[in-house]
């Protein structure tokens, strides 16, 4: 059974220094508020994994929480570079960042293998690319046909954190829209936290909906607008203007640090974070 917790308690209890942490989300339902809480609590030496590290990973990396990143596409979608990720890789600021890089198909297969508790995932991938020279992928012969296939080591995060639309009072979780690899990432993890837009009496989920039953989830936290500036379909849209603004904020170390200090470290929770951002917009 999932515990219904405050976000602060859930991060305290579930995320430890040195952990391998997946804050999954494929553009949609990205657990920003949970990422901010990790920054507030000053977690260090995390191995972060995610297929598409975007702005929240830029923030975690720039705030010094990460020592390694496992990923398959690291950018600000439609905008350009993640400046803090680049600074860490290119100039080792604020700390060196080790990277393990994949293609999406490989990382998706590795999560599916993790969810299945298999040692590796298999795919017809990593062909024509130089990635295998720089990452952990091996090639195997199909035992039935002899075809050469790629094998990727299963991903098994210590803790997976995701955001979803709804949970019920027992902690069963419902999500819809672009659902990425979140279900696999939760099932692959030893521990999991799901932040949701709302906790309701009944999920009213149709039979084939994407539901994570309470007994496979560690903690559920109600965090309204917990995916902002990403989106929660049915609740609010992606704030594309923020993603564009982030480019300027993150470009320089001092503007980045000032933003994190003011809006994340200088606030106690997601409500204060939103008030702080709104205040900044008024004063801009």
């Amino acid at each position: 059974m999932a515990a219904i917790l405050q976000l602060k308690e859930a991060i305290q209890e579930f995320v430890r220094d040195g952990d391998t942490v997946a804050l999954e989300g494929f553009t949609h339902l990205i657990p920003f508020a949970a990422g901010h809480e990790i920054i507030r609590q000053g977690r260090r030496d995390l191995t972060l994994m995610r297929m598409t590290p975007d702005v929240i990973y830029d923030q975690l990396i720039g705030a010094g929480c990460a020592k390694k990143l496992i990923f398959s596409w690291g950018g600000n979608p439609g905008v350009g570079s993640l400046h803090r990720l680049r600074d860490a890789v290119e100039k080792k600021w604020p700390a060196p960042l080790e990277i393990e890089e994949h293609e999406h198909a490989g990382m998706a297969a590795a999560y599916a293998a993790g969810a299945s508790h298999l040692p590796f995932g298999v795919l017809r991938g990593y062909v024509g690319t130089e990635l295998p020279e720089h990452t952990t992928v091996k090639f195997i012969d199909c035992p039935f046909t002899g075809e050469k296939l790629a094998a990727v080591k299963a991903l098994r995060p210590d803790v997976t954190v995701i955001h979803a639309q709804k949970a019920d009072k027992k902690g069963s979780v419902l999500m819809w829209g672009v659902v990425g690899a979140q279900k696999e990432a939760v099932l692959a993890a030893k521990r999991s936290i799901v932040t949701v837009e709302e906790i309701v009496d009944d999920l009213n989920a149709p039979p084939n909906a994407v539901v994570l039953p309470s007994w496979v989830v560690g903690a559920v936290c109600e965090v309204k607008r917990g995916a902002f500036p990403s989106y929660a379909q049915g609740y609010y849209s992606r704030n594309n203007a923020f993603y564009k603004k982030w480019d300027n904020i993150a470009k320089e170390r001092d503007t980045f640090t000032a933003w994190i200090d003011r809006h994340v470290k200088g606030t106690a929770n997601v409500e204060e974070f939103h008030k702080s951002l709104e205040g900044a917009a008024v004063n801009a």
Partner: protein, 270 residues
């Protein structure tokens, strides 16, 4: 970002157009009606949607976020904007889109962009400089290697200049025709690889035998010499270089309306 050259209008339309508009329109024309197309974000997404809104209403657009048969009203900024899932025929998980649909060999056309491309249409979207000590760290592979490998054919669209069109890639992220000749056929690629590269200057297609990119069409007002000069290797030029038909008024209108709607929506004014 290269300057947008304002080209003189030729015959079919009355309005002037930019080189970027010509590129997007020329790229859009390559997508046949009814094809299933795995779409990259940015220039490919603009071209694929223009195709859908003009000559290819039955093209099935698929984005790697798992959205299949999507018909966005505005161009997505990210690969998983709500616009894509709300207008999709179905939305599947990431594991499913790559395993069942892409690597399952169900997609006719992959539509990709690139930071660097070489003469055999191999592309780099990983690093500029050395991998371990990069000069510029780019976002990386994403779905591109699987798209380049698995789709029936691949269209590539990017702006043409010597920084992008290079003799040697800093990193090969996704395989085109590898070392040319039959090297792709000998490797374990399901799809036949890049069939056209569409830029702001012209169109290049691989030579049927050597697979080396060859200039086969220049956009109106552009000379073959200009395209050669904007290429970091000695670009092969076809014996007969065609001139790309200029954008029609209707193509331009549809593209401009799409981009106007998109700009408004992304500024948060929609």
């Amino acid at each position: 970002m290269p300057e947008k050259t304002l080209l003189e209008k030729t015959t079919e339309s009355t309005a002037a157009y930019t080189a970027d508009e010509m590129m997007t329109i020329a790229a859009a024309r390559m997508l046949r009606n009814g094809a299933s197309c795995f779409v990259g974000i940015g220039l490919p997404s603009a071209a694929a949607n223009l195709a859908r809104l003009t000559h290819a209403p039955d093209a099935v657009l698929i984005y790697e976020s798992g959205t299949i048969g999507t018909k966005p009203h505005v161009l997505p900024l990210s690969i998983g904007d709500g616009e894509l899932s709300e207008t999709a025929e179905t939305v599947v998980s990431i594991c499913e889109i790559f395993a069942y649909w892409l690597e399952g060999g169900r997609i006719d056309v992959g539509f990709l962009g690139a930071a660097q491309i070489d003469k055999f249409a191999n592309i780099n979207s990983t690093v500029i400089g050395n991998y371990d000590t990069p000069k510029t760290r780019l976002p990386g592979a994403g779905g591109a290697p699987a798209i380049a490998a698995s789709c029936g054919e691949v269209l590539i669209t990017l702006r043409q200049n010597k920084r992008a069109f290079v003799e040697k890639l800093d990193f090969r992220t996704s395989g085109g025709h590898l070392e040319g000749g039959d090297s792709r056929a000998k490797a374990r690629f399901p799809g036949k690889g890049p069939t056209a590269v569409i830029t702001d200057l012209g169109i290049m297609t691989p030579d049927p035998v050597t697979k080396e990119l060859t200039l086969t069409s220049v956009h109106p007002g552009v000379t073959a010499e200009q395209v050669v000069a904007a290429t970091g290797w000695t670009l092969k030029v076809a014996a007969e270089v065609k001139t790309t038909p200029a954008p029609t008024a209707s193509e331009l209108n549809v593209l401009r309306e799409l981009q106007e709607r998109t700009a408004k929506a992304h500024a948060g004014q929609d």
